[in-house]
């Protein structure tokens, strides 16, 4: 008689091995170098791709199961949000500006990351890496889709959401994230992994998603907190992939260290500049604040970034070159950025405003060394101009940094009263920069950055030829609806009227 032996369940390690490495094969019709042509030229030396392992040991079967569960949760809440007038439950319609920036500037970045990881899943020879990149590619596309779906409900009611794809391509403040992702996508596969997997995901996305999404919850925005946390649950895996990737490169060959360190220096600074806008959203655009940009930086930058770089010190990695300059900028950048957005708000597809007295009190408590001294007087001056019927608009065109593409509005690291401006001459042309960090990045790869598409220069070219009205229709901005001061805007009037209707029988 046959003995029935219970079939042994595979351990996680065995399952991972079977469903990743065992699916790989060695090519015979073509050499490995022909099949994977891009893994050599950056100079990174890899001796054994099998040393790569995803520490979550996530396999495709489990991946689909858990992602499907996340999607079901997400769409259940998005339906409830739409069915229950969720758009009227937010604390204040000013909050919508943060969502508009998110949709115009950040969601397209998710899509770009999806394209990037699809390519990396093809270009890396290691099977573990291929599978992890493939999952991340699908995640990133999911993030772009869920964000667009969640915010489409706001588009039914409010201005500024309708043309995010045009904004992504043409709007001046959107070229900042766009140039970040284009820079990463046009790099080699290993640099891409440091740019997105390590610098963006590990060092910086906590600052983007965690306190900001917790803030969305605080401001009654069920839709955003849902897509935010749903996306962030994937980010934990992405961060881990980024960290594993960097450890893998450093463990494979000591010659990789200087190359990797150079990329960390570059991409930390590029990411830090990109997050300036997130700091501004946290300090100025959440009517109910959860924590300041400074407090978030202390937790996720100083404490967590510090722990990470202490951990990597065993490989010879040191904190990124711009680390100290970043620290010096933290108490200034959100104020400088919001002041810039306010004075150029005729050209933004979202509203900005002068903070209320109550909000200035909060800012002064959170930024005791800088706000009252440097920034409150400027807001007071702008208030006076507005009260006199002559609100300030800066009709000149901003000088952009050739690298990060932000107008050069930030100050010297050691002197908050003078603007930081740098200049490099290359092949007879002058190029401008906002910081030493951005200047160094340019000087390391000038041939790449002289090709940058800069939105201010574009304004003077065909089809715009310097005409502001033509520019607005080209970027799909509807003047008097999408742009300008929140005070007196259609969004302000509609939100107040609809909320009044929702809470009365009139």
């Amino acid at each position: 008689m046959d003995m029935q032996v219970a079939k042994k369940k595979l351990s996680l390690k065995e399952k991972y091995k079977l469903l990743t490495r065992d699916l790989g094969w060695d090519t015979t019709y073509h050499t490995k170098d022909e099949v994977f042509p891009y893994v050599q030229y950056e100079g990174i030396k890899i001796h054994d791709w099998d040393k790569w392992e995803d520490p979550f040991r996530l396999t495709m079967d489990s991946y689909w199961k858990y992602q499907a569960e996340k999607e079901r949760k997400f769409y259940a809440i998005i339906d409830a949000h739409a069915q229950n007038n969720g758009h009227l439950n937010i604390t204040d319609a000013r909050y919508l500006s943060a969502l508009k920036i998110f949709l115009q500037a950040i969601s397209p970045g998710e899509y770009a990351a999806g394209k990037g990881f699809a390519r990396m899943g093809r270009e890396f020879p290691g099977v573990g890496t291929q599978v992890a990149c493939q999952m991340q590619s699908i995640d990133e596309i999911r993030h772009a889709q869920t964000q667009i779906h969640a915010l489409s409900n706001y588009n039914k009611f409010y201005n500024g959401f309708h043309a995010f794809a045009d904004a992504r391509d043409r709007m001046w403040y959107c070229t900042l994230p766009r140039s970040f992702f284009d820079d990463a996508l046009s790099a080699g596969p290993f640099e891409f992994m440091i740019a997105i997997g390590f610098s963006f995901e590990y060092v910086l996305t906590n600052l983007l998603f965690v306190p900001f999404m917790s803030g969305a919850a605080y401001n009654g925005d069920m839709a955003t907190v849902t897509f935010g946390f749903s996306a962030q649950s994937d980010e934990a895996r992405h961060m881990t992939l980024g960290l594993e990737c960097i450890k893998f490169m450093l463990e494979q060959d000591p010659a990789n260290l200087p190359i990797v360190q150079g990329w960390i220096d570059k991409w930390f600074w590029r990411g830090f500049r990109l997050l300036g806008v997130v700091g501004t959203m946290m300090d100025y655009m959440l009517p109910k604040r959860v924590m300041s940009w400074r407090e978030a930086w202390n937790i996720y930058g100083v404490e967590n970034g510090g722990a990470l770089f202490r951990d990597l010190a065993r490989y010879g990695i040191r904190p990124p070159k711009g680390w100290d300059d970043a620290e010096k900028g933290i108490d200034h950048m959100s104020h400088q950025f919001m002041l810039a957005l306010y004075q150029y708000n005729f050209g933004t597809a979202f509203h900005s405003w002068i903070p209320s007295e109550d909000e200035m009190e909060w800012l002064s408590k959170k930024y005791p060394d800088t706000f009252d001294k440097y920034y409150r007087p400027r807001w007071a001056h702008l208030s006076k101009l507005k009260a006199a019927g002559t609100p300030f608009a800066n009709m000149g065109l901003a000088k952009l940094c050739q690298t990060c593409q932000i107008p050069t509005v930030f100050t010297e690291p050691d002197d908050p009263t003078s603007l930081c401006q740098r200049e490099t001459e290359y092949k007879g042309e002058k190029y401008h920069f906002c910081s030493d960090g951005c200047q160094h990045i340019f000087e390391n790869e000038p041939e790449k950055y002289i090709q940058a598409w800069l939105p201010m220069q574009q304004l003077f070219q065909a089809p715009i030829n310097g005409d502001l009205g033509a520019w607005m229709s080209w970027v799909s901005l509807i003047p008097g609806k999408d742009n300008g001061d929140f005070d007196g805007s259609e969004d302000e009037r509609n939100f107040a009227a609809w909320r009044q209707q929702a809470t009365s029988n009139q």
């Binding site: 996340k70 906590n206 917790s214 919850a217 202490r310 065993r314």
Partner: protein, 89 residues
């Protein structure tokens, strides 16, 4: 010593998981923030399947953590019995 952390959505699924984490990591500091709970532990944190199962009263697959996970910090090591976060410094 560097601190590792894990942040989970604040909901009914995670309530017993947080209790289990605190039970297995006596040095844990639990920060309750809007919609999320962030747990900090100096050095390293271990999440055990068995302890979670005691709290929820059913079999649990540690990969289910993915559904309510918001973020984490530290080097990850996961198998079917435990999920560990650790800084090597």
């Amino acid at each position: 010593m560097s601190t590792v952390f894990i942040a989970l959505q604040a909901n009914e699924d995670t309530r017993p998981i947080i209790d289990a984490i605190v039970q297995d990591n006596p040095a844990a500091i639990v920060n309750r923030e809007p919609a999320m709970v962030k747990i900090d532990v100096p050095g390293s944190m271990t999440i055990k399947r068995e302890t979670i199962e005691e709290h929820i009263g059913r079999a649990y697959d540690l990969q289910e953590l993915q559904i309510n996970l918001i973020t984490l910090s530290g080097n990850v090591d996961e198998d079917e019995d435990s999920f560990t976060l650790r800084w090597n410094s």
